[in-house]
Amino acid sequence: MDCRREELLIAAIARLLEGCRNVAVGMLSPIPGTAAMLARARDPRVRVLGILSGNSFTNGGVELFDLAAQGRLDAFFLGGGQIDGRGNLNLVGTGDYPRSEVRWPGSFGSAFLYALVPRVILFREEHSRRVLVPQVDFISAPGPAAEDSRRRGGPHALLTDLALFTFDRERRRFCLESVHPGHGLDEVIASTGFDFDRLETVPETPTPDAETLALIRGPVAREIARTYPRFAAKLFPDAVAAS
C-alpha cells in the first residue's frame, strides 16, 4: 500500500498509544496530534488533551502538569535538540551553559513530565548524529536513573524518520525495534551518535493497513484540519477541501 512518510509515523505513534486513555499533545505537534486523533477514532474512550481547539482545560496552564502529577495522564510527547543513549534530553542549547553556542527555546515542562508521565514518546523527525548524541550538553530532563524506583515517567519509545526504538529501563539503553521502509540498519547505525541494543534481524516498521489509511485520510484528516490547518492542507488536501 502506498503511504507517505507522515502517515507511517502517525500509524506507528498510534500503535504506541494503544491502551492509553488520556493523551496530551502540544500545539506545534501535528504528527503526534494526528496520531492521537487516530487513536481516538479507533477507541472513543481516548481523550486528546491540550490541543487548543479541544479546550479541555479550565484551570489555566498549570492543569496539564497537575493532571500528570495526579497520575491521570497516560501519554505525552517530547523532543529535544539533543537526545543521548541514556535517554537524557536537551532542550536548552549546545556548548557551555549559560552562554550556549546554539541556544534553543528552553526546557518547557520536560523536566517534570518526563519523570511523571508513564508513556513519554520521544519524537524527533531528524535522525542524525547532531541530534542523537553520545551525551547531551545540558540535561533538561534526565533519563531514568538506576536507583530511581519512584519514577513512573518515560521514556517509552523514540521515533524518528528512520526508525523506532524502545527504552530498556534496566539496561538504561535504547533498543532498535524496527527500521522504516526504504531505510537500512547501516543507515540507522551511521546516523546515531550513541550505542543501542537490537535483535539479530531488525524488522521493518509496518506500514498502515488500508483501513487505518482510510481513517487517517478521512475523518481524522477532517478533524485535525481545525487544529493544524497548514499541516492538513499540505498532507490531506482532498479531505480538507471536502470538509
Binding site: L52, G93, G106, S107, F112
Partner: protein
C-alpha cells in the same frame, strides 16, 4: 463593589512599572499586553527581572532586544511556528542578560506559593535535571512525610512579582477583570504586589453580579490599573477575538535576526502607536 476603579491611559499604566521591577507576563496564547509592552519600551524601561508564566515569545524578545531586561526567568522563549526568538538567543549567547532557566510547573508553583503567602512549594520530578545545578535559589530536601527510605523532593521559593501585566477581554466599571478560563492570569494577580491590565473593552454592568461571569473574573481588589487597548495583543492572536498577524510576525522573525534589522523593526513598530 466600590467605585474606585483605577482606569488610566496606556502611558500612565506603563509608568507604573518601575525600573528594576520583577515583572510577570503570560505566554503568547494566554494574552500578553503587547500595546502596553510598546509603551514600556517607548518610555525606556531598564533592568527588568522578567518572569515568563511559564514561557514567552514576541513580548520577551522585544523587551530583550530593546534593552529593558536584566534577568530573564522562563521555561522557554520561542516565536512558535515563526521560529526561534532571535534577540533572546543573541542576548543569552552574549551574556547580555542573566538567565534563570526553569520548567513550566516550577514557575506555576512559585506563583502559587506567593498566592498562598507560603515561602515555598514542593514539586515532583525535575531531580537529575541540570536546571537545578544552575538555580541556586532552588533546594532539594527530604519529603518529611516519606513512608520509607530516601525520598528527595525539589522545593521552590515563592515568586512574588512586583507587577503582573497582561491583556484581557474586558473589565467592568468597578475594575473587575474578566479572564475566562485562563486561570494563570488570576494566579498572577493574586501573587503580584500590583497588577496592570489592558482590556479590549470596558463594559457596563457588574461582572461579579452573576455567577456565570464571576466564575471567570478577577475581583477589582487585586487590580492596580486598567487601560483600554483595542487589539491590545496585536500582532499576537487573542482567543476568539482575532487571529495572529502572520505577516507582521514573519516580518519580525526575519528582521530581528540581526541587531540592525531589529532596530529598524522596532523604530517602525513604535511609530505605529504615534504620539
Amino acid at each position: 463593589m466600590t467605585g474606585n476603579a483605577p482606569f488610566s491611559s496606556l502611558e500612565e499604566l506603563a509608568a507604573q512599572v518601575p525600573d528594576g521591577a520583577k515583572l510577570a507576563v503570560p505566554r503568547d496564547i494566554t494574552g500578553p499586553a503587547m500595546a502596553a509592552t510598546r509603551a514600556l519600551i517607548r518610555r525606556g524601561l531598564r533592568g527588568l527581572h522578567l518572569v515568563c508564566v511559564p514561557t514567552s515569545g514576541l513580548q520577551a524578545d522585544l523587551l530583550i532586544g530593546a534593552g529593558c531586561v536584566a534577568t530573564l526567568e522562563t521555561s522557554a522563549v520561542t516565536l512558535g511556528e515563526f521560529g526561534p526568538a532571535p534577540r533572546f538567543a543573541a542576548a543569552v549567547k552574549a551574556g547580555a542578560i542573566a538567565i534563570l532557566d526553569a520548567t513550566c510547573p516550577a514557575i506555576h508553583a512559585g506563583l502559587q506559593a506567593a498566592e498562598k503567602g507560603i515561602p515555598f512549594m514542593p514539586l515532583r520530578g525535575v531531580l537529575g535535571s541540570d536546571l537545578i545545578a544552575h538555580r541556586p535559589d532552588w533546594r532539594v530536601m527530604q519529603n518529611p512525610f516519606a513512608e520509607a527510605g530516601d525520598d528527595p523532593i525539589l522545593v521552590l521559593p515563592a515568586i512574588r512579582p512586583d507587577v503582573a501585566l497582561f491583556h484581557a477581554p474586558r473589565a467592568d466599571r468597578f475594575g473587575n477583570v474578566w479572564i475566562g478560563p485562563r486561570r494563570e492570569l488570576m494566579t498572577m494577580a493574586h501573587a503580584a504586589k500590583e497588577t496592570l491590565v489592558t482590556v479590549e473593552e470596558i463594559v457596563d454592568g457588574d461582572l461579579l453580579a452573576e455567577d456565570e461571569a464571576a466564575a471567570g473574573t478577577i475581583p477589582a481588589l487585586y487590580i492596580s490599573a486598567i487601560a483600554e487597548a483595542r487589539s491590545g495583543a496585536w500582532p499576537l492572536a487573542f482567543h476568539d477575538a482575532y487571529g495572529a498577524d502572520a505577516v507582521e510576525l514573519a516580518d519580525y522573525a526575519r528582521l530581528a535576526r540581526t541587531e540592525p534589522g531589529f532596530a529598524q523593526y522596532l523604530a517602525r513598530l513604535l511609530e505605529l502607536d504615534g504620539e
